[in-house]
């Protein structure tokens, strides 16, 4: 076969490919009906989650999904369908997550996804409400004798691609005029192996991930320190499509509802006793006094269903990432506003 015939062959292949592309553009997706209608008709919420991130979304040994992000999927199913179990989880890689949302494959993206202006403004998607205030930090072996990240000149840094990690790393080191070399590994197991074997001096990740990794992987957790500097803010949020404002509202206020429940002292265990409460805030939130549910086009008891199924924010935290879990995280920024944190639910009225 001659080179020319091979080239001719490629011309044909490319022609087919471009024809495919053009027809794709011509057939712009038509979203029929609202997201809530689709979910009701389907009888299931389709929720995009990670492929495995401890404490946030992970299938356990029995094949059941659990985690903080998963609990917010369950909360939404409870709000819309009245049943927190009616969720189908779609595990997504970091490249796939936004296309899956844009194309309508999933209803909501609860995949430890950081809110940034570029994503919010540029991709036709919206971050509905922040569910977890995280921030990236550095972990180093204690024997390196480093107490501040400013002493990390020439360091070898292990980092996972796919989030904003790599960009933040460059920004931080160039701001402080330090040099570094990176080792970028997608597979978390391999990445941590590289760090704990000494391939890298530094492990850069979300502080929550670092803490969890140190307690689980390090032979002796005291041999490693998480440096005080935070590289960036990393607020995680559920994401939805720009086009459906009603659905954006529902996702946003479902998050607010679990925070409000904690503010008011309502938990999954005692929510029934609050149904007879005289407090107008409680009565409006739980739908005893009707009105709010209708404005969302939901059942009046939606917030009651949410709290009954997944509990308030504090319960969700303790169950998935709190001190009694392997992650052993303190609330920190994720405490209520009146306890030194940033969680603040606007009024339900």
């Amino acid at each position: 076969m001659s080179v020319r015939s091979v080239l001719a062959r490629w011309r044909q292949s490319l022609f087919v490919l471009s024809a495919l592309g053009l027809s794709a553009l011509a057939a712009a997706p038509a979203q029929a009906g609202t997201t809530v209608d689709t979910i009701r008709k389907r009888g299931q919420l389709v929720c995009g989650v990670s492929q495995g991130s401890a404490g946030l979304s992970l299938a356990d040994g029995q094949g059941r999904w659990s985690g903080l992000d998963v609990d917010f999927c369950r909360a939404l199913a409870a709000a819309v369908l009245g049943n927190a179990d009616k969720v189908r989880y779609v595990p997504l890689s970091s490249q796939q997550r936004f296309p899956a949302l844009q194309s309508g494959e999933i209803d909501v993206l609860n995949r430890n996804t950081t809110v940034t202006s570029g994503r919010d403004a540029g991709l036709g998607v919206t971050a509905a409400a922040i569910v977890f205030y995280d921030g990236q930090g550095f972990m180093v072996p204690k024997k390196l004798g480093v107490s501040s990240a400013r002493q990390l000149d020439g360091a070898q840094v292990c980092v996972q691609p796919g989030t904003n990690n790599e960009q933040n790393l460059v920004d931080w080191f160039s701001t402080h005029k330090l040099k570094y070399r990176s080792v970028v590994i997608e597979n978390l197991v391999e990445l941590e192996k590289a760090f704990y074997s000494g391939r890298c001096d530094v492990y850069l990740s979300d502080a929550s991930t670092l803490a969890a990794s140190r307690s689980a992987r390090a032979g002796n957790p005291d041999d490693y320190v998480i440096l005080p500097e935070r590289v960036n803010k990393s607020p995680l949020a559920p994401w939805v499509r720009d086009s459906d404002t009603n659905w954006i509202d529902i996702v946003r206020w479902t998050v607010h509802a679990v925070v409000a429940a904690e503010e008011l002292g309502i938990s999954s265990a005692n929510v029934d006793s609050f149904l007879t409460s005289k407090d107008p805030q409680v009565r409006r939130l739980l739908g005893v006094d009707p009105g709010i549910g209708k404005s969302f086009q939901l059942d009046e008891r939606w917030a009651y269903n949410v709290v009954k199924a997944v509990g308030n924010y504090g319960e969700i935290w303790d169950r998935n990432v709190g001190p009694k879990t392997p992650l052993k995280l303190e609330r920190g920024l994720n405490a209520l506003w009146n306890k030194g944190g940033l969680l603040y639910a606007p009024p339900f009225q």
């Binding site: 091979v6 794709a24 040994g61 490249q95 460059v170 970028v184 689980a216």
Partner: protein, 647 residues
């Protein structure tokens, strides 16, 4: 959703590439960093390709050596390496390299030479504007400890080393098969003629065997080169930033998934096109002198069975020493393995039971077996999944197990019954039956179904494609596109492309249909490779046979069915076996689009903080699973080749 927008390419990238031939920093554009990634891919291709070709040739010839123990050991090694996903092997090589001493205790035998788990640092020659004889000169730069790391010199990173070594070893096993079957398919006549003319064995090998062997080796060799290019996309998993890794970061940085993946498709199409053109040119040269007339006898007739008995092992002193050493080494490795896997192992209990144990922790499999076996299939429906898997295994056994007395009618009826049974089970056709939609499938069910369906559907499609390619007109063009497109692009890119474009093309069909898209991609990918194997086999047949058959008055169809096809099938079997095994292992890549296959389940187990330390056990179990799936396939294909040969 707006149309594709490639404007991001000249924006500031804002991320850094760890190692590159180009001077690339975070301030350069995305386009420049992508170019650096492309160069890295080419580096891997060149290094691993050379290594695999040399290694494969040596290994292929060594496997023709008539030493019973050596041959069996080499065959076993090849089977082991070929029947496990290459990704798992890369993990293994990388972990081994990480066991080198840390930088502070680096091995430093000569000035300027440092070997540690940061890599191998050697002095580098730079062209620099120094004080040379006319201002410019070569400057020798020595690596030095500085700050927390090494600076200066040239560094071979463990990531690149593991990737190149892993890919070279993996593809060398395939190439060894190609080399071996190419040598064995050389016609006996010319070889005997050369010997009769008094040529020395080395001259016979060089002047007669080599050119003839090359002829049938080129098409499958080209397949392997393409496969190597495609496997190089696994670099990201062990931290080498190739083209795909850079495009991935670009996608997550900009959110432009469609554009990024389309770029990847174009780049890999281009690279494969160049590769294919080069090989096609060589192929044409190798086949320039038309077909050999005559003899059906091939070198394979000289390679009879090799019994493993006392005389063959200890007959001559040199042989005895070699075999004794081999057996000693084997026993030592076996002892170490058994101590780790059996005697010291922890079999049950929670994650805490395995702390501080310097042996296998099989408890991880017991505690997570529902996840590993069935993924996220809801508990009440696991029985359905299990029954379907049993049906699938039965189907495989019906066609694969050595039962020569089973006629094709029995097999066809059995297959139809089993297929109907699987359908009934999965659709829940009974009172109160719940269907198990593909979106809920997981673990074994995904892997088994995808593997079997891909093989089953790819076989007829491959025949059709190969046939259409030999014809003319628009069918030929379409067949070429369908063969070369899937062969040219890494499977990961194809899966992602389809998962991005698919919902745009058919918005109403999104979600649960991801599974069927994955299957379609796998089928086409397998069929394209099989079609090429078939073409290679047809090329190796002497054209005179065809002409003789026609001259004897056979109709073309009869000539094809009774003369050409049986021989082509035998010649194609070894390479087709490679494609089959590859197809089964390729199912492990569907996790990139979010299907919950066995490997995905394994990764989910390891994402759990409690079990994260036991990757060797979990990946080992996955490797054994693939071995169990692939080894019978290899055995079947070997038997097929032998059966046709004896008849």
């Amino acid at each position: 959703m707006s149309g594709p927008d490639f404007g991001f390419l000249d924006q500031r990238a804002g991320f850094q590439i760890a190692e590159s031939w180009l001077a690339a920093s975070a301030d350069d554009s995305f386009a420049w960093l992508i170019a650096a990634g492309l160069l890295n891919t080419l580096t891997v291709l060149l290094l691993a390709g050379t290594g695999a070709t040399l290694g494969g040739t040596v290994l292929g010839l060594a496997r023709l050596w008539r030493q019973p123990l050596v041959r069996r050991l080499l065959d076993g090694l090849v089977e082991l390496l070929r029947n496990t996903p290459v990704l798992l092997q890369l993990f293994l090589w990388y972990s081994l390299l990480l066991k080198l001493p840390p930088l502070r205790e680096a091995w430093h035998p000569l000035p300027g030479l440092w070997l540690s788990n940061r890599g191998l640092a050697v002095p580098a020659l730079h062209l620099a504007n120094g004080n040379g004889w006319n201002g410019w000169g070569l400057v020798l730069e020595w690596p030095q400890l500085q700050g927390l790391g090494l600076s200066g010199g040239w560094l071979l990173s463990p990531e690149l080393a593991a990737l190149v070594w892993g890919l070279a070893v993996f593809h060398a096993t395939y190439l060894s098969d190609i080399v071996r079957s190419a040598v064995l398919s050389v016609p006996l006549g010319p070889v005997q003629a050369a010997r009769a003319l008094g040529m020395r064995p080395a001259t016979v090998a060089r002047c007669v065997v080599l050119p003839l062997a090359l002829r049938s080796a080129w098409p499958p060799y080209a397949n392997q080169c393409l496969a190597l290019l495609k496997n190089s996309t696994l670099a990201l998993a062990i931290g080498y930033q190739d083209l795909m890794a850079i495009l991935n970061t670009t996608i997550t940085q900009t959110g432009r998934a469609l554009e990024g993946m389309s770029l990847a498709a174009v780049f890999y199409l281009g690279l494969s096109g160049l590769l294919a053109a080069t090989v096609a040119w060589h192929n044409q040269r190798a086949n320039r002198h038309g077909w050999l007339a005559g003899s059906m006898a091939r070198l394979s007739q000289l390679d009879g069975p090799l019994p493993l008995n006392a005389r063959a092992l200890w007959g001559r002193p040199a042989q005895a020493v070699l075999n004794a050493l081999l057996l000693l080494g084997l026993g030592w490795a076996l002892g170490l393995g058994l101590r780790w896997a059996l005697w010291g192992a922890v079999w049950t209990g929670p994650a805490s039971a395995c702390e501080g144990v310097d042996a296998a922790c099989w408890a991880v499999l017991g505690a997570n077996h529902p996840l590993l076996l069935w993924g996220t299939v809801p508990a009440p429906q696991r029985l359905q999944a299990a029954l379907a898997c049993a049906g699938l295994l039965g189907l495989a056994a019906l066609w694969g197990l050595p039962r020569p007395h089973l006629g094709w009618r029995v097999r066809a009826c059995g297959s139809a019954t089993l297929a109907a049974g699987i359908t009934v089970v999965l659709c829940g056709f009974w009172p109160d039956g719940q269907p198990l939609p593909t979106a809920d499938w997981g673990g074994l069910l995904v892997t088994l179904f995808l593997a079997e369906a891909a093989l089953l559907l790819a076989l007829p499609l491959a025949g059709l494609l190969a046939w259409a390619r030999r014809g003319g007109g628009p069918a030929r063009g379409l067949a070429l596109a369908l063969i070369e497109g899937p062969r040219a692009m890494p499977l990961v890119v194809q899966l992602l492309l389809v998962s991005f474009w698919g919902p745009l093309l058919w918005p109403e069909a999104s979600g649960s249909n991801k599974f069927w898209w994955a299957l379609a991609v796998l089928v086409l990918h397998t069929a394209a490779q099989l079609a090429e194997v078939l073409r290679g086999a047809l090329q190796a047949l002497p054209a005179s046979q065809w002409q003789t058959a026609l001259a004897l008055g056979l109709r073309p169809r009869q000539a094809f069915a009774s003369i050409v096809w049986p021989q082509a099938r035998r010649l194609a079997a070894p390479a087709a076996l490679g494609v089959f095994v590859g197809a089964v292992k390729d199912t492990s890549l569907v996790m990139v689009i979010g299907l919950f296959d066995v490997l995905h389940a394994a990764k989910a187990v390891l994402a759990d903080t409690g079990w994260r330390a036991h990757d060797l056990e979990v990946y080992g179990a996955v490797a054994v699973f693939y071995l169990l799936l692939c080894c019978p396939l290899s055995a079947l294909a070997r038997r097929l080749a032998r059966d046709v040969g004896v008849r």
